[in-house]
């Protein structure tokens, strides 16, 4: 009879050779790591931290260091030195001041425009639209994200072209389009970054229970008062989250400005035109949007909105 002889074999095997005594390399590593949580964590994070630290933060630090260097005016060669000249120039030369302020203004205008458009759209999608319509709109909003950036900007360039589609559309009303310039730039940037505002606002709207709107109306609020006193405060974190994208992306953009901005100079275009002529100055100017965005994030954090993300 085979069965009775095999059975005791198994039990004796497992007592003589317990699981812990297995000795492959993987087993050894696992056993060592099991007792050392810090080592485990280090193993998990070493690679991504190296990537973040060396390539990402590192390049930013290099940019910042370069901003203190100078350029030989004759040879146009970068000379490593330490000078505050570039920063002084940015802060004191009116053209740079104006460009920085204009860029911040454009980024704010884009953000406000996106927010103003996202509110009614989010309300419609979350509370009014049928599930089918909602899905179609969600696709409609996010679809442009999959199209190439250049394609989108180029299509706006054509739209705003003198005698182009926009002029043609407005002609019956005796109007013409704004042409290339600040207005066209704001509209184009708002189009580009709108999904980043619309998606969080819509999903936040969906999370507001319907009966809060009923309750507000029940207590005597007309629709606009309900939007102002119930919807907007509850959507604030979503607006702030969206604005971080619309604001910082607008602040850093320069291709749209080149395509539809006409003569409008923004920080990005100034950096782009200095990148070969005077890299240290470009680097110094490049720190401006970084500082502004850090300030913006700081304010957003202070508002408490980031806690709810």
């Amino acid at each position: 009879m085979a069965a009775p002889t095999i059975k005791p074999d198994i039990t004796s095997d497992s007592t003589q050779a317990p699981v812990a005594a297995r000795s492959g390399t993987g087993d050894t590593i696992s056993r060592v790591l099991h007792a050392r949580p810090k080592l485990r964590l280090a193993g998990l994070l070493a690679l991504p931290l190296a990537w973040l630290g060396v390539l990402y933060i590192g390049s930013l630090i290099l940019l910042f260091v370069t901003a203190f260097w100078t350029t030989d005016t004759f040879t146009s060669k970068v000379v490593p030195a330490f000078t505050l000249e570039n920063f002084v120039e940015i802060v004191t030369v009116p053209a740079y001041q104006l460009t920085a302020l204009r860029t911040i203004g454009i980024a704010l205008a884009v953000t406000v425009l996106c927010a103003v458009l996202a509110l009614p759209l989010g309300l419609y999608m979350a509370k009014v639209a049928s599930p089918r319509m909602r899905a179609m709109l969600a696709i409609g909003i996010t679809l442009p994200l999959w199209a190439g950036y250049l394609v989108k900007v180029f299509s706006w360039r054509i739209t705003f072209m003198s005698g182009g589609p926009l002029d043609w559309l407005l002609a019956p009303f005796g109007l013409t389009g704004p042409g290339y310039g600040t207005a066209a730039l704001i509209i184009t940037l708002a189009y580009l970054w709108f999904p980043y505002m619309a998606v969080p606002v819509y999903s936040a709207f969906r999370q507001i229970p319907d009966n809060l709107f009923d309750a507000s109306s029940d207590l005597g609020a007309k629709p606009w008062a309900t939007v102002r006193t119930v919807a907007v405060p509850l959507l604030k974190p979503a607006f702030i989250a969206g604005s971080i994208f619309t604001f910082s992306l607008s602040l850093g953009d320069y291709i749209a400005a080149q395509f539809v901005g006409g003569k409008t100079q923004v920080i990005g275009t100034v950096i782009a035109s200095n990148i070969n002529l005077n890299p240290p100055l470009a680097a110094a100017f490049g720190t401006v949007p970084i500082v502004v965005v850090v300030l913006y994030l700081f304010l957003a954090r202070k508002s408490g909105a980031l806690k709810q993300l």
Binding site: P209, N211, D214, S217, D218, L219, G220, K222, L234
Partner: protein, 355 residues
């Protein structure tokens, strides 16, 4: 005795009819696409009464409440509030306020701001607002939570804040949509007492939606029983319980024995459906004589005994196969019937209600 109660109720009706009803629904229909939620409803709710809309889920009671509030507009028909046509008016134009099922407190506002929300919209001065909010919180015995956010309150506290938020505006009518549904049993019973007291104090008409028949019977002056978009019966709790007008009402309000066929004919001499409440039936020995004249009785075998603490429920079956439930208080008169015992069930013939 029954006659005097009925005439008393009748004189009450005639006295109240002279006054304009707080709410009057006339042939109100509400359809959602293919589905008809409310099928031609006529209902008058009197000033100052505690009126319940009772029915199973999907019977249309909440839809009626939402139409009175103005959240839904009727597909046809007319709704009057205190004699004024409000059929097409928006919620903010109606002098009614609502306590929502899950309270619908504004999560970003403190308790005091929630309660003061409606006052602020009415542009009540800051001083008056503070005083009225304080009074309202006093009424619900929660003055100490004024500065907390709704998320920091317990379920029972939220429920009371929702009540204060609606009552602080002193509406003509307060609508309550299953306000106690989310509370545990003990808290619910405590809140029932409080609600009733508050209603008596403020004297506002309360319209209370519930699927809990016991709650409706306990709280209400009158109850409308809803079934599939129609009102089956309107009446005082006693009317509905003792004199149900339909099979649905009889079985929805408490337990009852519905008797028809031969046994019904034997008891009343007619073919009509009979409703006999389990607590009206006594258990006797088969050979015991009838207690008095005017008693109905039938022989049966005890099939099941369920002990529930203060009372015991017996399931008995007659030789003809009719099942009868008997509810007996566990007092000194309790029978000691056992499973399988042959007994005689006996009850006063005046508790034979034809439905």
């Amino acid at each position: 005795m029954q006659a005097t109660a009925a005439s008393g109720a009748a004189s009450l009706v005639s006295a109240a009819a002279a006054v304009t009803p707080a709410i009057s629904l006339q042939n109100v229909v509400k359809t959602f696409g293919e589905f008809t939620a409310v099928k031609g409803l006529d209902l008058d709710i009197r000033q100052g009464e505690f009126f319940s809309l009772l029915g199973p889920s999907g019977s249309g009671k909440t839809t009626v409440l939402r139409m009175i509030a103005g959240f839904e507009l009727p597909s046809s028909g007319r709704i009057d509030l205190a004699g004024r046509d409000v059929t097409r008016k928006a919620p903010f134009e109606r002098d009614v306020n609502t306590v929502f099922q899950d309270y619908a407190l504004f999560p970003h506002l403190s308790v005091a701001e929630n309660v003061g929300y409606g006052l602020k919209l009415r542009r009540t001065s800051r001083g008056d607002r503070r005083r009225l909010v304080a009074e309202a919180l006093e009424m619900i015995r929660l003055p100490h939570v004024a500065d907390r956010l709704p998320s920091q309150l317990s379920g029972g506290q939220r429920q009371r804040v929702a009540l204060a938020r609606a009552l602080v505006l002193r509406p003509q009518v307060l609508l309550l949509d299953e306000p106690l549904g989310a509370l545990d049993k003990q808290l619910r019973e405590q809140m029932q007492v409080e609600l009733k007291q508050i209603q008596r104090t403020v004297g506002i008409t309360f319209v209370f939606v519930t699927h809990d028949q016991e709650e409706a019977l306990t709280l209400s002056d009158r109850v409308a029983v809803f079934n599939e978009g129609l009102v089956e019966q309107v009446g005082t709790p006693e009317d509905l319980y003792e004199r149900p007008s339909s099979r649905f009402v009889a079985s929805f309000l408490g337990n009852t024995n519905l008797v028809e066929g031969e046994l019904a004919r034997g008891l009343t001499g007619s073919d009509a459906l009979l409703s006999i409440r389990p607590e009206r039936i006594r258990i006797r020995q088969p050979d015991e004589p009838l207690e008095a004249a005017g008693m109905s009785s039938v022989e049966a075998v005890i099939e099941e005994i369920v002990y529930t603490g203060p009372s015991t429920r017996f399931v008995a079956r007659t030789s003809a196969g009719q099942k009868l439930i008997v509810q007996e208080q566990n007092d000194s008169r309790a029978s000691s019937a056992h499973r399988g015992d042959r007994v005689r069930l006996e009850w006063s013939s005046r508790f034979n209600y034809t439905v």
